[in-house]
Amino acid sequence: MASTSHPVLAHQFESLEQQRASTSLGMWVFLVTEIMFFGGLFTVYIVYRPLYGEAFAAASHHLDIGLGGINTAVLILSSFTMAMAVRSAQLGRRGPLAVFLVLTMLLGLTFLGIKGVEYRHKFEEHLIPGSDFRFTGVDPRHAQLFFSLYFAMTGMHALHMIIGVGVLGWLLVLTRRGRISAEQYDVVECTGLYWHFVDIVWIFLFPLLYLIGRH
């Protein structure tokens, strides 16, 4: 029975390696439930897009491709800084870890800020589904359906981002208290997996919402 006295090893595990493997596997299982959660929204999109392709394309033209593209780059960059944060944690370098956590948070907040600007534009242009929805073009009814999907999907995605930024703040506190080390960085690894997952959701949302019928 090796290393039962190690301070960061929970009693049910044989070794730190086993503990680490179990923790990240548990996180992956959670992410699979998240794939199914967002999968439901993507399925709705896949059902309606072929039925109302023209309305979807016309509605998509009201999205700002510049802001959407910048946000995609911001999020990819944040995934890179998150990966660097995990790497710093693996090596037990707390200084760089704190820096990369802050950078990731700032990029996440930048994304949310730009998203907020986009939402405000949609509000001003009366493109929020509901009684005040105004759309001049073919098939406004199904353009409204597109915007319902747009707000449901990007809204759920933004909620995940907000939670992610909160978790990063908590990690920063743990780091400053010296609770993260090369032996115990599972929380950083799991947060990284979550953050990258949220990035992947956006990688699909961007072409499916912003880039349809542009030519």
Binding site: F80, G192, H196
Partner: protein, 99 residues
């Protein structure tokens, strides 16, 4: 199973590829390729996803069990989408009441 620390160079390379693919996908969206537009956009998105999963999410150096869990996730997503579309696509094929 010891920790595999990925070199910074690898992460930077993945970042550069992901950003380039984003620019390519925007460019391609403005070309008229017919049905190929959708295929190109989704292919690029899938490539980006695979790169993020393999490198940023460390799947490349993870256990077989983790691979199995990830694969299972996508299989279930495939079931969700394919069985739903199976219904929506084929519902109008037969002129039976109650469809």
């Amino acid at each position: 199973m010891s920790v595999h620390v990925v070199p910074v160079k690898t992460y930077a390379l993945i970042l550069a590829i992901l950003l380039s693919l984003t620019m390519i996908t925007v460019r391609v969206a403005f070309m008229d390729l017919g049905v190929l537009n959708n295929i190109a956009a989704l292919t690029i998105a899938v490539i980006k996803m695979v790169l993020v999963i393999l490198y940023f999410m460390h799947l490349r150096h993870s256990s077989r069990l983790t691979w199995l869990v990830v694969a299972a996730g996508f299989v279930w997503l495939g079931i969700l989408i394919s069985l739903t579309m199976n219904d929506y696509v084929s519902r109008g094929w037969l002129g039976v009441p109650g469809k």
